[in-house]
């Protein structure tokens, strides 16, 4: 059942990626796309497919997967289906660092350093959240609340920077904050890949611990799980994934919140299955959001984040309502 679900999701993702390859401001018939993919020539179509659409689609998939996995891990750590990297301030820390970079340092450094700035921001805010909520270990609800507080402060900092910087820089920063995959390149894909390849196996290795902790700290302790260590390692995975996604695509909100929910309804809350399923669902969400942004309002190329929030937020409200009634 669950294996076939994952397989089905993968097939769906592949088909959607194919669809996305064909569509754009310059629609391409599937056969021509296939031709350009298998036998690249020195033509416009090859350029559009290989240099414009393919990297963008690949980045959308990776970013969506990273955000969704970060959310799935975080929700299991704090045992709350409402937590996500954007709620507890990891994303907004990354955003603050990125806007700081855009507003103050972009004249001195090239934009290639932006991902590193964002990653550093995510790391610092995660460390702050952990240290501020530390009180004889980490209590999940305290972690969430402190994160919310920190998110408010970093959000205020971001607003301040946008208000005081000049209009052009402010607008760039704002588009970035909304979350956009515009002008994605292969080196972005190469840049984000390691940040998925390292945390994912670690997190899968700790999946059993996470499942045990989901039953409550005392049960997990009884089963011999080193709670604090496992929690910290899983948290580090979540931060790395969320930070990487934000670094390369800006503040796409709601993916980390809704993708794990959807995946959990398909495969259940067992971590070893939930993480891959979430990754696929998240990738699908971002892929379609970006596709909509590219083709729905031509010639405008709108940030994917608008559509993620536009579809994700009402859907999230619906989900929340459903889960309440079921319990």
């Amino acid at each position: 059942m669950t294996k076939s679900t994952v397989l089905l999701l993968s097939l769906l993702l592949a088909a959607s990626a194919g669809l996305s390859l064909c569509l754009g401001s310059f629609p391409t018939p599937p056969l021509e796309v296939l031709g350009a993919l298998t036998a690249p020539q020195n033509s416009d179509i090859t350029f559009i497919i290989w240099e414009l659409r393919l990297p963008r689609i690949a980045l959308a998939i990776l970013v969506g997967a990273a955000l969704a996995m970060a959310g799935a891990i975080l929700q299991s750590i704090v045992r709350n289906p409402l937590a996500s990297p954007d709620v507890i301030g990891i994303t907004s820390g990354a955003a603050l660092a990125a806007v700081l970079f855009l507003a103050l340092l972009s004249t001195h450094f090239s934009l290639h350093w932006l991902p590193f700035a964002a990653m550093l921001g995510a790391l610092i805010s995660a460390l702050l959240v952990i240290s501020l909520s530390w009180k004889n270990g980490i209590n999940p609800s305290r972690l969430v609340l402190v994160g919310i507080g920190l998110a408010a402060a970093t959000g205020a900092g971001t607003t301040l920077l946008i208000v005081i910087s000049d209009d052009a820089a402010a607008m760039t920063a704002y588009v970035w904050l909304t979350g956009s995959l515009y002008a994605a390149q292969w080196k972005d894909v190469e840049g984000i890949l390691p940040w998925l390849l390292v945390p994912v196996p670690i997190c899968l290795a700790f999946a059993r611990h996470a499942d045990a902790m989901a039953l409550g700290d005392s049960v997990a302790e009884g089963l011999g799980v080193p709670i604090l260590r496992s929690r910290m390692i899983l948290l580090a995975c979540s931060v790395a994934l969320a930070g990487a996604a934000v670094a390369f695509a800006g503040g796409l909100s709601f993916v980390g919140l809704i993708a794990p929910h959807l995946a959990a309804r398909l495969v259940g809350r067992n971590m070893a299955r939930l993480v891959p399923a979430s990754a696929l669902v998240g990738a699908l969400i971002v892929l379609y959001a970006d596709l909509l942004g590219r083709v729905a309002f031509l010639p405008k190329d709108l940030p994917a984040g608008i559509f993620v929030a536009g579809i994700g937020a009402p859907f999230f409200v619906y989900l929340l309502h459903r889960t309440r009634r079921q319990r």
Partner: protein, 334 residues
């Protein structure tokens, strides 16, 4: 904490004097300081050729009035919300009510020919109502109880939703960038006094109603049964208090955009000084809330001149440490 009636009365008097001083500071201080003499002159015979007088009446005075109104309203709204939900972290900002009002205002201003706060305050009230209803629906447990962490998370999710919608509007329609940013960041400046006065009855009515309900609010703290003992349905009281919160928070947003944390911090300060009795709590919240926002606004002029820091940013920076302190202290017991 002040215990006797005399001490509390003196405390309130002191708070009122501080608020008055903060009001005068807000009117007089800024990039151009206005001396007391020219303030008096401007009040007695206004002279439109004098720059001091123009600044005073078009910029400083409306600003101080808005800060006073909004600060007092948000603080009262926060106190009532904390009473209703029995949650120390409840406030119009945290629970998404400000964000709902803000989004509806942004939509109204972008798509409808509404230009003055008196026109779009209705949109703000509707938005506040929608957000409040959403949060209540989302956070109710099986037996209708509001679990504290869930309320806060639902509020944050609702806030995130409305803020990202507004950001989406902003990115799609870059013409309105400045104005949307104004709502998102929160500011008490740049409004004419004539735009404020039509909203005064709304603020006045809500505050009057809250004054009439102090006994019921006190009873509500002890439990729903106590309200019934006063001869009223607990649900009726909650709905009335909710209405007050929505009117106060919605009108505040229509005037000044999203200003967070005033509704969170001030009630806790007021409770620490005056105790939990709403007869003292609500007036002290009003005075201290006005003080806080007036002072935050004055400070925002001097933090990084010549730029002004949006006052919503100021309150968030002041409020966050307090929020984290509360989260660490009050939420550990569960």
């Amino acid at each position: 904490m002040l215990n006797s009636r005399t001490a509390k009365s003196l405390g309130l008097l002191l708070a009122a004097l501080t608020a008055l001083a903060a009001f005068f500071a807000s009117v007089m201080l800024g990039t151009t300081d206005i001396p007391l003499a020219s303030l008096a002159a401007a009040v007695h015979h206004y002279d439109p050729t004098q720059i001091d007088h123009i600044i005073l009446f078009t910029e400083r005075l409306p600003r101080a009035v808005i800060a006073t109104l909004v600060g007092a309203s948000l603080a009262i709204a926060g106190a009532l919300m904390q009473t209703m939900t029995r949650n120390p972290l409840a406030s119009p900002g945290i629970l998404g009510i400000n964000a709902g009002a803000m989004f509806f205002v942004v939509v109204a201003v972008s798509f409808l020919p509404l230009r003055t706060p008196a026109d779009y305050v209705w949109a703000a009230l509707l938005g506040a109502l929608v957000a409040a209803a959403l949060v209540v629906i989302l956070s109710r447990g099986r037996h209708g109880e509001l679990s504290p962490l869930r309320v806060v998370l639902a509020g944050v999710a609702v806030t995130a939703m409305f803020v990202s919608f507004s950001q989406g509007l902003l990115v799609m329609d870059q013409q309105s960038f400045e104005s949307v940013l104004y709502w998102l960041a929160g500011s008490v400046s740049g409004r004419d006094l004539s735009l404020v006065t039509p909203l005064l009855p709304l603020f006045g009515a809500a505050m009057l109603l809250s004054a009439l309900l102090v006994r019921h609010a006190n009873a509500l703290m002890l439990g729903d049964d106590m309200v019934t003992a006063l001869g009223m349905q607990a649900t009726t009281i909650k709905l009335l208090l909710g209405l007050i919160v929505i009117v106060l928070a919605g009108s505040s947003v229509a005037l000044a955009g999203m200003i967070g944390f005033v509704g969170l911090i001030v009630p806790h300060m007021a409770r620490g000084i005056f105790g939990i009795d709403h007869r003292w709590l609500l007036p002290s919240c009003a005075l201290l809330g006005a003080c806080l926002l007036l002072l935050a606004d004055v400070a925002s002029r001097f933090l990084m001149p010549p730029q002004e820091v949006p006052v919503g940013v100021m309150t968030a920076l002041i409020g966050t440490p307090f929020f984290i302190y509360l989260a660490r202290r009050k939420m550990t017991s569960q």
